[in-house]
């Protein structure tokens, strides 16, 4: 008789990690995006999020395919190029009780999707917006994107002579309330940031450097594994304690900023950079700008504000999802029409 396989580890809502998995990835072996999908699975599993309460949104590109590779039990909408922000906004308006996670790329966001992206930030739409940032267009075989750094080199030897758009600086300036950068190869940091993102109410904008092994992982690229390993400068060590776990004092030294999240969990940021205050917008943007001048890639939580009303708060929408309100609520009574008609006579 075969020995019984050990029961799989279950999370706090009784689901095994298998229930958070998606389809088999069709992305290149070693693609940073696959690692990000893994971290999303881990974060959702560890946070005990019901998969049916999640919507996965994306645009077009390698990055935007990835929602097919995690959480098959969640509804997904792979829309048109550069328009995920708008589609996600609509879906969130229809049902704000769901957790929306959007996956985009640097082309999908910072070029074709810039208009929708910045306005989503401005509105503080409650959702997690992840940019899987590799600096190139993968599906069309390796053109520069708008996040490619000045002076970085394509495989073909072409040098980028335009400045990069820093999506984090932009997001901080324009109204996102949780902004960070991570690296697909930094499991610990990315996982902690994703867990905190799930706990946050408002727009979470995470720019995750995610090397393209096929088109942008060579010498001269600033989005390669090697470059990130050498130039990744975390500004803080990100720790996250969910509401359902007791806080253990596991930081021995350094200054810790404890940010209380809406759901009672706690984001613990240990300062690595002198005087860095992630609640100060102007300082955050200045720090990012200065890092560009020094060719450093800062990672960590750059900005957090848990006090800002979300778009749903601003619209003062009812607690129930608008999508499923009954006719008795959404269709005004006959007396209302009669009154309108009387006024038009």
């Amino acid at each position: 008789m075969a020995t019984a396989t050990p029961a799989p580890k279950l999370n706090r809502i009784g689901l095994p990690v298998l229930d958070y998995r998606g389809g088999k990835s069709t992305l290149c072996a070693g693609c940073g995006h696959n690692a990000i999908s893994e971290r999303i699975i881990d974060a959702m599993f560890e946070m005990g999020v019901e998969p049916e309460r999640v919507i996965k949104m994306s645009g077009i590109g390698c990055s935007s395919k990835s929602p097919a590779y995690f959480m098959s039990r969640s509804h997904a909408f792979n829309a048109v190029h550069g328009r995920m922000a708008a589609v996600a906004t609509g879906a969130v308006l229809a049902n704000h009780t769901l957790t929306a996670i959007g996956v985009s790329g640097d082309g999908d966001t910072a070029s074709i999707g810039m208009g929708g992206f910045v306005h989503m930030l401005r509105r503080n739409v409650p959702m997690i917006y992840i940019i899987e940032d590799n600096g190139v267009y993968g599906l069309t075989k390796g053109q520069f994107s708008a996040t490619a750094d000045l002076g970085s080199k394509l495989k073909t030897g072409v040098i980028n002579d335009l400045p990069a758009i820093d999506t984090c600086a932009l997001a901080i300036q324009l109204g996102a309330t949780f902004v960070g950068r991570s690296f697909s190869g930094d499991k610990k940091q990315l996982l902690a940031m994703l867990k905190a993102a799930i706990a946050h109410k408002g727009t979470v904008m995470l720019d995750v450097i995610s090397p393209c092994v096929t088109f942008n992982d060579h010498e001269g690229s600033t989005k390669s594994y090697k470059f990130m390993q050498e130039n990744d400068e975390p500004i803080n060590e990100v720790g996250f304690v969910p509401s359902f776990q007791e806080i253990e004092v596991d930081y021995s030294s350094g200054e810790i900023l404890d940010v209380q999240m809406h759901d009672g969990s706690s984001l613990r940021l240990r300062k690595l950079l002198d005087d860095y205050d992630p609640t100060n917008k102007a300082n955050a943007v200045r720090t990012l700008m200065e890092a560009h001048e020094k060719n450093e890639v800062l990672t960590g939580v750059f900005y957090i504000n848990t006090g800002q009303p979300t778009f749903i708060d601003l619209l003062n929408v009812v607690d129930e999802p608008l999508a499923t309100l009954p006719e008795s609520v959404t269709r005004p009574p006959k007396s209302a029409l009669d009154a309108l008609m009387a006024n038009l006579r």
Partner: protein, 613 residues
Amino acid sequence: MATGDLALGQEQGTISTRQRVVNDFSINLATVNGSGSQSANSVLLKAIFGMGVPVSGKNLFPSNIAGLPTWFLIRASKDGYVARKRDTEILVSLNAETARQDVMALPVGGVAIYEEQLNLKQYRDDVFFYPVPFDKITASICSEVKLRKLVKNMVYVGVVAQILAIDLGVVEHSLKTQFAKKQKVFDLNFGAVKAGFDYAAANFVKQDPYFIEPMNETTGKIIIDGNAACAMGAVFAGVTVVAWYPITPSTSVVEATSDLLKKLRVTPDGKASFAVVQAEDELAAIGMVLGAGWAGARSMTATSGPGISLMAEFSGLGYFVEAPGVIYDVQRAGPSTGMPTRTQQADVLSIAFLSHGDTKHVILFPGSVKECFDFGSDAFDLAERLQTPVFVLTDLDLGMNNWMSDPFEYPAKPLDRGKVLTAADLDRLGGFARYRDVDGDAIGWRTLPGTPHPKAAYFTRGSGHNDAAGYTEKPEEYTAIMDRLARKFDTARNLVPGPITVANGTSMIGFLAYGTTDFALRESLDQIQKEHGLAVDYMRIRAFPFTREIHDFVASHERVYIVEQNRDAQLASLLKLDLPAAQTTKLRSILHYNGLPIDARSITEEFAAKEGL
């Protein structure tokens, strides 16, 4: 009266009963935009309505905020014709810039009421002149210089009322409704109306033959513009998510929707059972609409031509992923920026196939303000039943002008939210395939995000997919979806509002039209009957895809005239694609596309010329 000088005081005496033109003429109010003439025009329109006389108003305004010429046409018609009349008999001229052109456009024997300084008598002598010192009168009753520009407009209301014999009490009532709860504003404005009324009484002897006499044709009727009617339709269809980008002439659809939602859809605890978002552009607007529709909300946007162009890619996504949404297009004159404040029906073809690839869309064509309201419920029901974007095509003429109508009736049917599986359904079925045709109507079942069942989720994608919503590039899986979508469009044929048979006798000539062309065509058919002794048939189309009756109508006539307001015979082209080849040679077009609403006389003349009558 071809040559005589008919200026006032030259000929005395009363107008014989035979000469009197009662309740059958148009007034052209020529002013400068931004001068506040809109309220005065509206008061005059409603006063004629208050006299029980069928009336319609058309605002011909520039794409400008202040300082350019604007004309407001009021038509009184005892026969109930509400289309634009090609000629206007009465001119109220307050705009020096267009005064000459306006007075020259009057027919012989017409009437010119004008600011006396414009000295219109210098241009011709075969119309009746009523010079009015508007500025002097206004100054005498309004001490505040700032307000004079506005008050002056009310003076002409009084003058016109006196000359046309409109009851001053009715004008007073109309003014009261306009300025409900603003007693001071009412007093000032009514003072101006009275001053004009009294001035005309004291200084003019009525010479012209035009009169408004009381009728009983407006009792129980309402006056409303099409955009406000669309807004009401959407609100009573239970819309919950509205995303839009401002664009003339559709802006007031959403503004009115928003006002109604704030009034009717706030819960007792002060929360909104709706969300209205002014988006960053039309791309985002329709993106939000489809995102919301996909997640289960009744969502809409309103736009016009340029916005439709921007919505093209998303419209294809909506069609292919089968997400509902309602798009109101208040058409204006294109192409490109075109003439934003002029009307046309020229988005028909582009919307029918909006987006790349094999795409077809359901379109509704409301032909009255009442249908603007009724089609609200139809559009949202169809969008959810058919799981596809539904376009409601009105135009500037219908949308921004005031129309008389029977009161709107409360929707008789409950909302049709379409095929949606619940968690209990999934328990029973053990799962589902999103795009599988299980009922034979080519419409799959969907689940809404958040449905608490492990098998509820599916992956929505604009890329090739199979009936289980999985990614595919397999030829047979892809074509199966495309073929089912084509069959679904056939299902739509049986669900959209059918045509209205206005006249179907024994004539071998038939007419087809849609939207606002109906108003002019009905009048034209009366002219054709009266002037040419022909009783022709007429069917009004109300939706695309075309229903069986439309094919039958073409089949049963020798010649079919399609009247529409665009250059390229867009609906005729669409119909040609749909009809058997042998039938297509029957189609003839009468087209009008100069930006002004179509008029009956132009149709009658072109028809007569084409028929050799």
